[in-house]
């Protein structure tokens, strides 16, 4: 069993990691059995994340956010208050909450964003990203270190990394 903290390979069933002392008795991280599962369990999210993503302030207008999406050809914007992540604004939020013909209104990003988005850490494994994307039914995962947004991962980024292993 690989320790999720230090990656030390322990004998299956041990209660504590021999490498760092972490209590791993209750965690159940499987061992890789082929190239695909090795990729999911060993590759880190930092390898596929877009670093320093374009973001928007929580008080910005929706029109500004739409302009950012168009200019950078992106589908989601981490929403910041100061330097901290407070939400995410996606195309989905726009379509669900604002009629296109009303887009000239001065509603703020705060009104339309999804607050407290699901996040991942740079050192999380690729399998965690797939887990989050499927179980939480989201398409974008901000990558955070402490309070700072350091990247963003899209469903597409994960698929792109997996394609070589999937098609052999």
């Amino acid at each position: 069993m690989h320790c999720p903290i230090c990656a030390h390979e322990n004998i299956a069933g041990v209660d504590q990691c021999d490498g760092c002392g972490w209590e791993i008795g209750q965690t159940d991280i499987p061992l890789p059995t082929d190239a695909l599962s090795a990729l999911l369990l060993e590759a880190q999210i930092s390898e596929i994340a877009t670093r320093d993503p374009v973001s928007v302030g929580v008080e910005a207008s929706v029109a500004e956010a739409v302009e950012l999406m168009r200019e950078h050809d992106i589908r989601a914007l981490p929403v910041l208050e100061g330097t901290g992540l407070v939400g995410i604004l996606t195309e989905r939020d726009l379509v669900l909450k604002l009629d296109p013909w009303d887009a000239g209104t001065e509603r703020s990003v705060r009104d339309l964003m999804t607050p407290d988005p699901v996040v991942v850490k740079p050192e999380d494994m690729l399998g965690t990203a797939v887990h989050r994307l499927c179980v939480d039914n989201v398409r974008f995962l901000p990558v955070v270190e402490g309070e700072q947004v350091v990247g963003i991962v899209a469903l597409r980024d994960v698929l792109r990394r997996l394609v070589p292993a999937l098609v052999g």
Binding site: T27, D28, P32, D34, L94, A103, H131, L159, V167
Partner: protein, 155 residues
């Protein structure tokens, strides 16, 4: 069976979870947006008769509708993508994967020889298929291993 073998053997139609929600080509933007919301989908087909004439996606709305001069009565045909890439229902899953990856699409409609739509293959559908094919590696992971309980539930 290794998942990569499953990908090669699985017909593309196995990933179509539901039929393509569609509107007629003369439908207003208001009605099209309403359908996107009601069905909680990110794309709809636009039909001319029974033939797929275009697709309307969230992306099309952000690129061509928000902040432009469109009104609720604008025909959907003025905002849709009138030449979407499509696949045939007999195409392989690997072909779909290549296309979605290479062309950066998120979904591709399946269209038969007569131009009739037969559902959509999406990146999410493929990812879900992958997760279900290897649940022990993906779905059973603790969401955050560092927060896994150190004692059994209820102990």
């Amino acid at each position: 069976m290794p998942v990569s073998d499953e990908f090669r053997r699985t017909p593309i139609s196995a990933l179509v979870r539901r039929p393509l929600n569609s509107v007629g080509i003369d439908t207003t933007l208001r009605a099209a947006v309403q359908l996107l919301r009601e069905e909680n989908v990110r794309y709809i087909g636009v039909l001319e008769g029974t033939r797929l004439a275009g697709m309307l996606t969230e992306r099309d709305l952000v690129k061509r509708a928000y902040g432009s001069a469109v009104g609720p009565d604008t025909p959907v045909s003025e905002v849709m993508n009138a030449s979407p890439r499509t696949l045939h229902p007999q195409d392989s899953l690997q072909t779909a994967l290549d296309l979605l990856d290479r062309e950066r699409y998120r979904h591709v409609a399946l269209v038969d020889d007569r131009g009739r739509p037969h559902g959509v293959v999406t990146i999410r559908g493929i990812m879900q298929f992958l997760a279900e094919s290897m649940p022990e590696t993906v779905l059973n992971l603790p969401p955050d291993p560092t927060k896994a309980p150190s004692t059994a539930e209820g102990a």
